[in-house]
């Protein structure tokens, strides 16, 4: 049997395609590890808590409740959303939470595995994939809740619901790509992971999450330029069967994020040894 040969050196003579190939191969081979890590974390998380799964969606639900209260009490005046505001807010907050989770996932999984990374050599892609698995698990729960809401708010089921997973996938790829690019820096400096929630909070208000795009004004311009807008908006639209908006922009965003996703995967792969060195030095 031929033995696999590994070469470690400073120079990196491999082309990006070769690296991507290796990365994808490792990803495929480490699926069991990724699954194992995801199951481990999910089990451990719920075994030590009574509310368990509830925690996966309690934050977005409270955010939505606050906004529903603000709106219904007349404290603020929002642009008409076209559907029941309560459902608009709930669905927006849940979709947004899927996005933030996907974005934070690479850095959270990698930080959690710091101690193993500096001692054992295993395909680090498994960490990313396990993060994706955990995100999918939580997303599934959120989608179930959304479906329940569909019935609660008596919204008719639409055939376009079938496209919902596709849009969510686009959203997740976009967010994971950004997450992968910031992970190496985030592992060096704690500032990054501290800043992420704050920036995401700000971004949320520049995206039609809990309110629709205003008819006029500066916010209209910002929201329409924001690449997250078409993703979040259309995720909700296909879910309830509304007409798609910013179709061309959506396709652009997703079309660019797919190649970027592969580049970010390679970037992550080549950066890890440098990070491990600085962590353990």
């Amino acid at each position: 049997m031929a033995l696999e040969t590994k070469i470690y050196q400073k120079e990196n003579n491999k082309s990006i395609f070769k690296l991507l190939g290796e990365s994808l191969k490792d990803t495929y081979q480490s699926l069991f590890l990724a699954r194992q890590l995801a199951v481990r974390d999910i089990k451990a998380q719920y075994r030590q808590s009574y509310l368990g799964i509830l925690w996966a969606f309690i934050t977005p639900l409270t955010t939505a409740l606050v906004w529903i209260f603000l709106n219904s009490s007349g404290t603020i005046k929002l642009t008409d959303t076209g559907i029941s505001y309560a459902f608009y807010a709930f669905s927006g907050a849940l979709i947004w939470s899927i996005l933030t989770e996907a974005l934070k996932s690479p850095i959270t999984s990698t930080v959690a595995a710091k101690s193993i990374m500096s001692k054992i050599n295993f395909p680090k892609e498994a960490l990313i994939v396990s993060g994706i698995f955990k995100m999918l698990f939580n997303t599934a729960i959120k989608v179930i809740i959304l479906v329940v809401f569909l019935f609660v708010f008596k919204i008719e089921l639409s055939w376009s619901l079938a496209f919902f997973p596709l849009v969510i996938l686009g959203l997740a790829i976009f967010a994971t790509t950004i997450g992968l690019f910031i992970t190496p820096l985030g592992l060096l400096y704690k500032d990054v992971s501290k800043a992420i929630p704050i920036i995401l909070q700000l971004l949320m208000y520049m995206t039609p999450v809990v309110y629709a795009i205003p008819k006029t004004g500066i916010m209209k311009t910002i929201m329409e330029a924001n690449p997250l807008t078409p993703l979040v908006l259309n995720a909700r639209n296909v879910f309830v069967g509304l007409e798609l908006q910013f179709v061309e922009y959506s396709l652009w965003v997703i079309g660019i994020s797919v190649p970027l996703f592969f580049i970010s995967l390679v970037f992550y792969r080549v950066s890890i040894p440098i990070i491990v060195e600085r962590m353990s030095a």
Partner: protein, 402 residues
């Protein structure tokens, strides 16, 4: 048939930075230069040093390399380079085959989950497939000897139990290259022995790199050795015992005698081996010969002769023997005089190596200590055989029957 060459290390160097903030900033720079392929030569930047410098070696299947050296000599860094966790700043490492590392046991354990679940976690991290673990799980539980607790959460395990479980999983690896750091020190004696038995079984089919401070162990399993100091290989070769000797010699520099206790009633003026000229304050003595030890003791406040006893320590500060010279007459003496002692020591059957004599003066044997000094005399026993036991007893064949 020539055995497979599994590890080739060519001129490998690695540098580290002493300052954390600066280190992180260099990390950012390295991230950037990494993207352009790292073609330029690396020089030391401010506050950097070579943690590993210009290491070369080759290892074939069935060979075992011992890496020894002080703490911070660069051994663990070299292991990390070999394991591919970090990249060299210079040089090239080529490794063939499946690599197993006994560096951390029980990686991937989650304390909340049960031992059984964690076998899967740990196994997955070590690169096993689900089918492999399924088929080995009974063997793993058997080996760990903690079947009764296998379904309780790992957080209730003692540290020794965790190590047992971790090693039981790791022992199932069938690596071509095995990297062992000092992980086996934990666990009770029975388990440590079991671990080494497992490693012994793996040895002939693997190329092993073994880091340890346990010299008898190194001399037992290694057939080639590298002594590292400040990142460099100061000794390298197949003469394992010579390498270990130079390792011990690194500690010889602080060889002054040290006073452990004194109640200021007596003090040692001089100590020597009669008729032997010391070389660097070490007295060379041939194995099996008889010697005379001479001491001069200044009496400051005693009016009765003190009882003198000696103890022998080896290089690792293990007590090897005690000496209670007979015929001491504890008669009354005058103050402020120097007393000379001369003791015979017959047929020294200590094995080859360095030994230290500790000098004790007390009122009675093992009672009311006046004075105790370590390394009063350093002797070096000369013999052509290297031993790992402190004594080489005198023996001859008398007859054989067929």
């Amino acid at each position: 048939m020539e055995k497979d060459l599994l590890i080739r290390v060519e001129n490998v160097s690695k540098k580290f930075c002493k300052d954390l903030k600066l280190s992180l900033w260099y990390g950012v720079k390295d991230l950037a230069s990494n993207l352009s392929g790292n073609k330029t030569q690396r020089k030391l930047r401010p506050k950097e040093f070579w943690a590993v410098k210009s290491i070369n070696f080759e290892l074939r299947r069935g060979e075992c390399l011992g890496l020894i050296g002080h703490n911070g000599a660069g051994k663990s860094t070299l292991l990390k380079l070999l394991n591919g966790l970090i990249q060299p700043d210079e040089g090239k490492i080529t490794i063939r085959g499946r690599v197993g590392a006994l560096i951390e046991l029980g990686a991937g354990f989650n304390p909340i989950l049960t031992g059984r679940e964690n076998i899967y976690n740990n196994g997955a991290v070590l690169g096993f497939t689900k089918e492999e673990i399924d088929s080995k799980i009974e063997k793993i539980i058997e080996f760990s000897e903690i079947r009764d607790f296998i379904d309780s959460p790992v957080q209730n395990y003692s540290s020794g139990m965790k190590v047992r479980l971790g090693f039981a999983v790791a022992a199932q690896m069938e690596p071509d290259v095995l990297i062992i750091d000092e992980v086996l020190a934990v666990g009770d004696l029975g388990f440590v022995l079991k671990c080494f038995k497992t490693i012994d079984v793996m040895l002939p089919n693997t190329a092993v790199v073994f880091v340890s401070h346990n010299m008898p162990m190194v001399s037992r399993i290694c057939n080639t050795i590298i002594l590292m100091e400040r990142g460099e290989a100061v000794f390298q070769g197949e003469d394992v015992s010579k390498g270990i000797d130079s390792y011990y010699n690194k500690f010889m520099t602080s060889d002054d005698s040290n006073l452990v206790y004194s109640d200021d009633t007596v003090s040692l003026v001089s100590a020597s081996v009669e008729g032997v000229t010391p070389v660097d304050s070490v007295y060379n003595v041939k194995w099996g010969t008889s010697i005379r030890l001479s001491f001069k003791l200044k009496n400051i406040g005693l009016d009765k002769m003190p009882y003198i006893s000696l103890a022998v320590y080896d290089k690792e500060q293990r007590a090897v023997a005690e000496i209670y010279p007979e015929g001491q007459d504890l008669k009354s003496i005058e103050k402020d005089r120097v007393i000379g002692f001369s003791f015979s020591l017959k047929n020294l059957y200590l094995s080859k190596g360095i030994y230290y004599l500790t000098f004790n003066a007390s009122e009675e044997p093992s009672f009311n200590m006046y004075y105790k000094i370590h390394k009063a005399i350093t002797i070096k026993i000369e013999h052509d055989k290297q031993m790992w036991t402190p004594f080489l007893l005198d023996s001859k064949l008398i007859s054989t029957t067929i």
